[in-house]
Amino acid sequence: MRKVEVDKEMGLKSVKEYPPAPLSKPAEGAGGKTGLWRTYRPVVDLNKCTGCRICWAYCPDRAIKLRDDGKVEVDYVWCKGCLICFHECPVKAIDKVVEEFGE
């Protein structure tokens, strides 16, 4: 079962197409859906955000995205909830709320 999944993800059709060495390809989510690790969820208040990009620069997970208007939004698929952005925001535009995974 596992082998079939691997083949599908790498797009390989036969054994001959296997790489000569264990070769991984760059992809999002190599560590799984890391958004599920969160206990707290950072929430950006767009009225307060000044677009200084400090949270974006300090995010180790690339979970802060720059919007077209220069402000930021959080990508909750990958955000691990470390709350560096909450602590570093100079205008306190990011709030933390307890995560409740819905549905």
């Binding site: 691997v6 993800e9 790498m10 264990p22 070769l23 991984s24 390809k25 760059p26 992809a27 999002e28 989510g29 190599a30 560590g31 799984g32 859906k33 890391t34 690790w37 200084c52 990009r53 400090i54 974006w56 620069a57 300090y58 995010c59 180790p60 997970d61 690339r62 979970a63 720059l66 990508d75 698929v77 990958w78 691990k80 909830g81 470390c82 709350l83 560096i84 909450f86 602590h87 570093e88």
Partner: protein, 306 residues
């Protein structure tokens, strides 16, 4: 890439994929993200056994978007030398960087690093110093500071830590620098300098580790800043025989700023709980830091600009 002077100048292109397997609040993932931004697509990375070999994720996916070769624990610098030699034969000019933890550098990998520096191989060597063997479960390493709890030093380490910066200067490295991602502009200026230079370049990066240092992941940046402001971590660079302090450490060295008392740095971290209990130990820790500073001020005097 033009000089980065403020956060708005940081390039938008990313080479570390989201969803990597690093712990929440990992300063090493942050450092690697910015290092790859600086070096760009034309880069090959080599990694010994360390946290970075784990955060790449599970086969067949990887989180690093440049060519990367995992290698044995002792041989990061040797592997980087070999990759560079291979590119030289092919006539390609590629940035080769070895990224290793403190265990793979201070203890296990030091002979390969020492050899590569002595041969003046054209490589960058980045040590992310999280001050213990974090990836195997927080065992003590040569980089663990005095008094820090690890699983193998449950009452706190009784010895002082090694000073890799000194070793590398004495070893004859052309460029040695210490950084921490908490001071990002300092980080960028040193790595951009390292990218442009030739010869062996060693960069030592203080990398706060939330599970190993026992603190809330949100304080990663603050702890890095406190380490510099208290003098527990000194920002400096050594370039062509000239030693100089940079950033906040420069202000301390010139007497423009005072070191904060080290207690503010220690009490944020659970690993120093044995030290925090007694006043004498805090004073001793402060003494160690002052001693270290005196040593560095002497070094700065010896290698000052002529």
């Amino acid at each position: 890439m033009s000089k980065v002077k403020s956060i708005k100048d940081i390039p938008l292109q990313e080479y570390l994929m989201p969803g990597h397997a690093a712990c929440a609040g990992c300063a090493m993932a942050l450092a690697v993200r910015h290092v790859l931004k600086i070096l760009g697509r034309n880069t090959t990375v080599t990694v010994p056994a360390c946290c970075l070999s784990v955060i790449q994720g599970i086969f067949p996916k990887t989180a690093v978007d440049v060519p990367l070769k995992n290698t044995a624990f002792a041989s990061a610098a040797a592997m980087a030398s070999g990759i560079k030699a291979g590119y030289r034969v092919q006539g390609k000019n590629v940035n080769v960087i070895a990224i290793a933890g403190d265990g793979g550098t201070y203890d296990i990998g030091i002979q390969a690093l020492s050899g590569a520096v002595e041969r003046n191989e054209d490589i960058i060597y980045l040590v992310y110093d999280n001050q213990a063997y974090m990836n195997t479960g927080i065992q003590r390493s040569g980089a663990t500071p005095y008094g820090a709890w690890t699983t193998t030093t449950p009452k706190g380490k009784t010895e002082k830590r090694k000073d890799l910066g000194f070793i590398m200067i004495a070893n004859g490295a052309r460029y040695v620098a210490t950084v921490t991602p908490s001071y990002l502009m300092d980080f960028y200026s040193k790595f951009q300098k390292a990218k442009e230079r030739k010869g062996s370049r060693v960069v030592i990066d203080l990398s706060p580790c939330p599970p190993g240092w026992r603190y809330d992941p949100g304080f990663t940046i603050e702890i890095g800043k406190l380490a510099v402001q208290t003098g527990a971590w000194i920002l400096w660079e050594f370039e062509d025989g000239v030693f100089q302090f940079t950033g906040f450490s420069k202000m301390i060295a010139e007497g423009k700023a005072k070191k904060k008392p080290v207690e503010s740095y220690l009490k944020l971290q659970g690993r120093f709980k044995e030290i925090i209990k007694s006043k004498e130990k805090i004073e001793y820790y402060q003494e160690l830091i002052n001693e270290n500073w005196e040593k560095y001020l002497k070094i700065a005097e010896i290698y000052k600009k002529k």
